[in-house]
């Protein structure tokens, strides 16, 4: 096992821990995407490029997109609106771009 593989595996473990500790669903999906991306590089180092292609297309691409749609449908992405409603403006509003996508 080379040092490169060890670094990748450490990243994988960090990703898994980060997924379970993130509060926001959107961030969890993003971390999951990066997990899949690292996993596809691990597949390449394990000499199975066909699995790497599939992992990159399905894990990092299609599944995450499906998650995004689901979050949008259950209104879990509109953080701007939520923040305005609950009143803690100074914490969440600064992170978002001005006039963001919460205009629906």
């Amino acid at each position: 096992m080379t040092t490169f593989q060890i670094i990748l595996l450490v990243f994988l473990i960090i990703c898994t821990i980060a997924v379970s500790f993130t509060r926001e669903l959107l961030n969890a999906v993003l971390v999951y995407m990066s997990f899949s991306l690292i996993m596809s590089i691990v597949w390449v180092t394990l000499e199975s490029p066909d699995l790497a292609i599939t992992e990159a297309a399905v894990g990092a691409g299609v599944t995450s997109v499906l998650f995004f749609i689901t979050l949008k449908k259950i209104h879990a992405i509109d953080t701007e609106k939520e923040a305005r409603k609950s009143g803690d403006m100074e914490t969440d509003i600064d992170m978002l771009p001005e006039g963001g996508q919460g205009d629906e």
């Binding site: 297309a57 399905v58 749609i69």
Partner: protein, 320 residues
Amino acid sequence: MSRRKTDEEYSRTKTYKFFRWLSGVKDPYIDSLELQPQEEKKESEEVILEHLHDEELALEKVYDVSHNRFVNVFERVYKLVAALFCVLMLVGLLMCVSFLPENGSADTVRSNVVVDRYIENGLEETGAVNIVSGMILTYRAFDTFGETNVLFIATCCVMIMLMMDEKLLEKAEKQNDRRFEPKDDVILRLVASFLCPIIFIFAIYIMLNGHLSPGGGFSGGAVLGAGMILYVNAFGFKKTQRFFNEQIYKVAKITALCMYGLIGSYFYITGANGIANHIPLGIPGHILSSGIILPINVAVGLEVACTMYAFYALFRRGGL
């Protein structure tokens, strides 16, 4: 041609009544409507007391941590037990791993003749340079056929649950079309117009070259589906429907599955009964070689691409 109404006819129309009301000649609602002042809703003291009592009762029973001691203790114990359970599972699984024979040691079970046969005779019997592809689509074609069927049934289920009636879909799109169509994103469009052709060609290459290089039907189909999702996101559903609408989707999906079924069943029947099949294997390494693998790769690829795109479209919009 419009014709002038007589005065009598005009006095019956709503316009006449409206202008009469506007000029203050006569209020049309006098004598026909009766107005009454609304009474304020009053609750008796008993009802208010009962509500307060209910609230007290609820506080005792509902999982309100600050008011319920039992729930408080239970939550702490629950967390502890959960952590303990996780650690025990981890230890148990690691113990199991320690009992496994070491990789490459002399004690490893060597009764699995299948692996040797795949590796030694694979190229000769299937004609595929890519052993994995040859194994999946000839020796284990029946398994892969089952997987393809699973994909087909999965999309059918999603269609049953999420497909909207076409009239309803049009109505919903008219009400707020911004929810379904992406905004004119210049960056996304430019990037997509560069990337989409490359992705499509790469996907087709993976599919057609599955018996020679790493990849195959499933990978190629997944990449093709992802590329189509990118195209839809950049250019909207209307442009995509020009080359991929519901009709084409149905035809492609069912044709792919039937093609796989037909080729596969010919292969199973001849193989199981010891009949020589007449599909030429060709010269290994050529693009038109390895018998049934190439058409099956294309069929699986189409099936997977349709599934990916249909999942996305049905989740997002409720129709293709």
